[in-house]
């Protein structure tokens, strides 16, 4: 653990909070732009940045033991396996959404 982290955690917390609120404002603003298919990915990317900020600063992931970092990454990795694997199932079978799902 870095000793300098202990000296001014308050400043880091306030900065992170303001950054989180700023990213929320950006997210809402971007959602109102007409970007076609990119809307979804950009808003999701901003959410991921907010999540990483909370994980590192508020949940002390960067200054704690490495095992916690491994568990946090593993959780999202397993979620990624769930989503990628399921979509892979549909896409690899050339399954297109039929009724009741339509585009």
């Amino acid at each position: 653990m870095n000793s300098s982290d202990r000296q001014s955690p308050w400043v880091n917390y306030v900065k992170t909070w303001l950054l989180l609120l700023g990213l929320l404002a950006v997210n809402i603003a971007v959602a109102h732009l007409r970007l076609g298919g990119w809307n979804f990915f950009i808003t999701l990317a901003i959410a991921i940045i907010q999540a990483v900020l909370i994980l590192l600063v508020f949940m002390h992931l960067h200054q704690g033991k490495n095992e916690n970092l491994v568990v946090a990454c593993a959780a999202y990795l397993w979620l990624g396996i769930l989503i990628v694997g399921t979509l892979h199932d549909y896409l690899s079978r050339n399954w297109v959404p039929g009724p009741p799902f339509t585009r």
Partner: protein, 243 residues
């Protein structure tokens, strides 16, 4: 000889099977992180359902999303982010030897959580009064109201969507609202547990006996996790169709 990994701390009591109090603390935090990992997958199933629904019927999901109360959702997100900040400050105070101030901040966090639940309840009432509660009373004509259909809307995958009423599928619209209620409802249940935890820790902090550092730290982790889930729920549910 093998040197023990942890120095032997003699000032705090710890269980026999640990080498030191520090190791006991680290184990408690590690266990909490593993629990949070399982919670990610607990919500993950619902996120998978949402992913499939948005991939299979992006237009209907976006039209459905326009019926959610975006201003209330924004306020709720800001409330949760601020509550995480206040909770972190409270935990920092408790570790700096100021338990009464920490207790007050934890109580403020719990109050903000209750405010979130009240706003969410208002949102639910709005959606239900619009006739969008999934079930026998679901009104598809409310989903396809003129203000939610705009000619020339582009679908999530960039394709031009013809927003004729027949392209918005009733069963899929109902599925979207079902997902909305279940995902936010499950989140609200977790938030309620977090509120109870915060209040219990706040009460215990004011007692002379105090409360173990692990309990305070793990409560913080739980609350931040609930905030994390909402950070992902908000753009997926509320920001889907507002362009």
């Amino acid at each position: 000889m093998l040197k023990p990994k942890y120095s032997r701390a003699m000032h705090s009591p710890y269980e026999k099977h640990f080498e030191s109090a520090e190791q006991q603390r680290d184990t408690a935090v590690f266990g909490m992180w593993i629990f949070l990992g399982t919670e990610v997958l607990f919500f993950g199933g619902l996120f998978m359902a949402y992913t499939f629904l948005r991939w299979a019927s992006p237009v209907t999901v976006e039209v459905g999303s326009r019926h959610l109360e975006l201003p209330l959702g924004c306020i709720n997100t800001a409330i949760l982010l601020t509550s995480s900040f206040i909770l972190t400050m409270g935990i920092q105070f408790s570790e700096n030897g100021r338990p009464r101030l920490a207790a007050s901040l934890l109580a403020v966090t719990a109050v903000m959580g209750i405010a979130f639940l009240c706003i969410k309840g208002t949102e639910y009432l709005h959606v239900i009064h619009e006739g969008l509660l999934p079930g026998p009373a679901f009104r598809i004509d409310r989903v396809m109201s003129p203000d939610s259909l705009r000619a020339g809307m582009i679908g999530a995958l960039g394709q031009k969507a013809n927003l004729e009423p027949q392209n918005v599928v009733p069963t899929v619209a109902e599925l979207f609202f079902w997902l909305y209620f279940v995902m936010t409802g499950l989140h609200a249940l977790h938030l309620l547990i977090g509120i109870v935890l915060c209040l219990v820790i706040a009460v215990l902090l004011r007692r002379p006996g105090g409360v173990s550092r692990n309990a305070v730290h793990n409560t913080g982790l739980y609350w931040h996790f609930v905030d994390l889930v909402w950070i992902f729920l908000f753009p997926l549910l509320y920001l889907a169709g507002h362009w």
